[in-house]
């Protein structure tokens, strides 16, 4: 059993901030926009170093998306930053027409996704953003799992030609993937080999999946753990080749079970290899205030829940 070391808890949004700072220095075409949440998005370093390439648009997310689209004309690579809800649901039609359908090279970077934003509560805790963005033709959808990976993804998407949605979060979580890794869009990362059950996790739940695999291992169950950082394009092959071995699968995401990663996986299975699947996800409810840990526990989004669902799906093989 492979073990992963947490090199220290740190927020994924800081990975974005660190990546953006590097891009600011290395790529003069990178520009950044923010809608009155510069500190929360950790965009201050970029802003301070490159004030001319930083655009404060105020509390006007729709306008921000349009401006970002326009900035691509002339060769800029705009990174927008705001909370995940205001990066997606608030501006869906603007992203749809001015960015996705117009084929603009905009990077939509979204913090405070999911329940783990904590105390602000449901109005801010979007649990639908992966679904929203995955339905847009041409959109790449990424949900990174820790600081290192978020930093790497931020740097990588600047080189990808086309619109990208990059989702990360607020809480301090385990940082365990390699430092200065390279990030390959669309390529799932197998973290743990196993033959009994496949666990496909994204975002903050990847670490939880590893923890779950440990517990399962102690109970004699060999779980395969896949970090599916890219929700779209989905790495069908990685999923299918794993379930062909294990015969059952658990998906884990900080998202409504409707419309997100889980249903995308169900579709791949139904199209290619029908397989029992269980969902670690919110059950079509809004979130609420609380600490990240309390919420993950209450809404069943942690290692414990992954263990339970793994056992449940094993029985359904």
């Amino acid at each position: 059993m492979k073990t992963y070391t947490n090199t220290g808890n740190i927020d994924t949004r800081s990975g974005f901030g660190a990546g953006l700072e590097i891009l600011g220095d290395s790529n003069p075409n990178v520009v950044a926009l923010c809608a009155d949440l510069t500190g929360s998005l950790k965009m201050n370093a970029f802003k301070d170093k490159h004030p001319d390439r930083f655009f404060q648009v105020g509390i006007a997310e729709a306008n921000m998306m349009g401006i970002a689209a326009g900035l691509t004309i002339g060769g800029k690579i705009p990174f927008t930053g705001t909370f995940a809800n205001f990066s997606t649901g608030r501006v869906y039609d603007q992203i749809r027409q001015s960015i996705a359908y117009s084929g603009k090279n905009v990077k939509i970077c979204a913090s405070h996704a999911g329940l783990t934003l904590g105390e602000d509560g449901a109005t801010h805790q979007i649990l639908e953003d992966l679904g929203l963005m995955k339905m847009l033709p041409g959109m790449t959808v990424i949900n990174t799992c820790d600081f290192n990976q978020t930093k790497a993804a931020t740097i990588a998407i600047a080189d990808h030609d086309g619109p990208v949605y990059l989702r990360f979060g607020r809480p301090k979580v385990a940082n365990f993937t390699p430092k200065d890794q390279s990030f390959e869009i669309g390529k799932a990362v197998k973290l743990q080999e196993g033959t009994d059950v496949t666990i496909v996790a994204t975002g903050h739940l990847v670490w939880e999946a590893l923890e779950a695999a440990k517990t399962l291992h102690e109970q004699g169950i060999a779980a395969e753990v896949i970090n599916i950082h890219t929700i779209k394009p989905l790495d069908d092959k990685a999923i299918l080749s794993s379930v062909k071995q294990t015969g059952c699968i658990v998906t884990a995401e900080e998202h409504n079970y409707l419309g997100g990663l889980g249903e995308s996986v169900s579709r791949v299975l139904a199209q290619h290899h029908p397989t029992p699947q269980e969902f670690v996800a919110t059950q079509d409810t809004f979130g609420e205030s609380g600490t990240p840990a309390q919420l993950m526990e209450k809404y069943g989004l942690n290692a414990k829940a992954i263990v339970e669902k793994s056992k449940k799906v094993l029985k359904r093989k």
Partner: protein, 308 residues
Amino acid sequence: MISSLITAHKNVFVAQLLVYFCTKRYKMTTSSNLQEFVTQVRRDILRQVHKVNSGHPGGSLGCTEFFSVLFKEVLRAKDHFDMDGKDEDLFFLSNGHISPVYYSVLSRCGYFPVEELKTFRHINSRLQGHPTTHEGLPGVRTASGSLGQGLSVALGSALSKKLNGDKHLVYSLHGDGELQEGQNWEAIMFAAANKIDNIIATVDYNGQQIDGSTDDVLPMGDLKAKFEAFGWDVIEEENGNDIDAVRNVLAEAKSKTGQSKPVVILLKTIMGNGVDFMMHTHAWHGKAPNDEQLEIGLKQNPETLGDY
């Protein structure tokens, strides 16, 4: 009904007198009594956000006088809260992040037990980080938190009142930074075009938002000129943290309702008002005081009505 009489009546003085006698939930207080209320609300704000180390004290403190006057003296609400709010005045908070002041004032006006302020932003609480109807908290008729939506909802309820022949008024509160959201201008245009004159919107004109002053973030120019160009009746009040001034401006606003124009109050307030180190800065927009800072803040606002 006396209350509908009042609405019909446009004379400020008489209206104020009538309010004095028939506010249902609470009897009219003197300014000094209300000052005690305000001081207690400030304590409640500080203690709520401190306990959970999150939430928005700055805007809350700045709007304490407004909430206190509105709920204690102006809003004619029925004794029992129901969602439909027929035959009573309504209030909508659009800038939902200032929930601490809203919760404190609601609880101290009897909407729910003051004790419940302890649960602010806790799990399984009705006192969510941003106000919501979802958990059934009395006093709240719409969720807010995602900025820019409250005016539209308030206008809808004002139209509902017109359809119902209900002469009561709709009040709403909005952040100044919040006005950067375009939906507000859709609503502002709509209200004037449709002569919605049973609404009094107030803008918390504190000149601050998250990333700095509004002038640093996105200078909004002359707000009065903007509202006027959009066909609203605009009242400016420089002293939004003065109880008498708030009382007078709300009375003046009321006297301007029913005249085919929506009414807005541009209420200059001081973010963080009443806690010296929090004043005149955006720094405390969404940051809780630590233990030491709490103590200083509470010392500046001694207990008056009893802490929860």
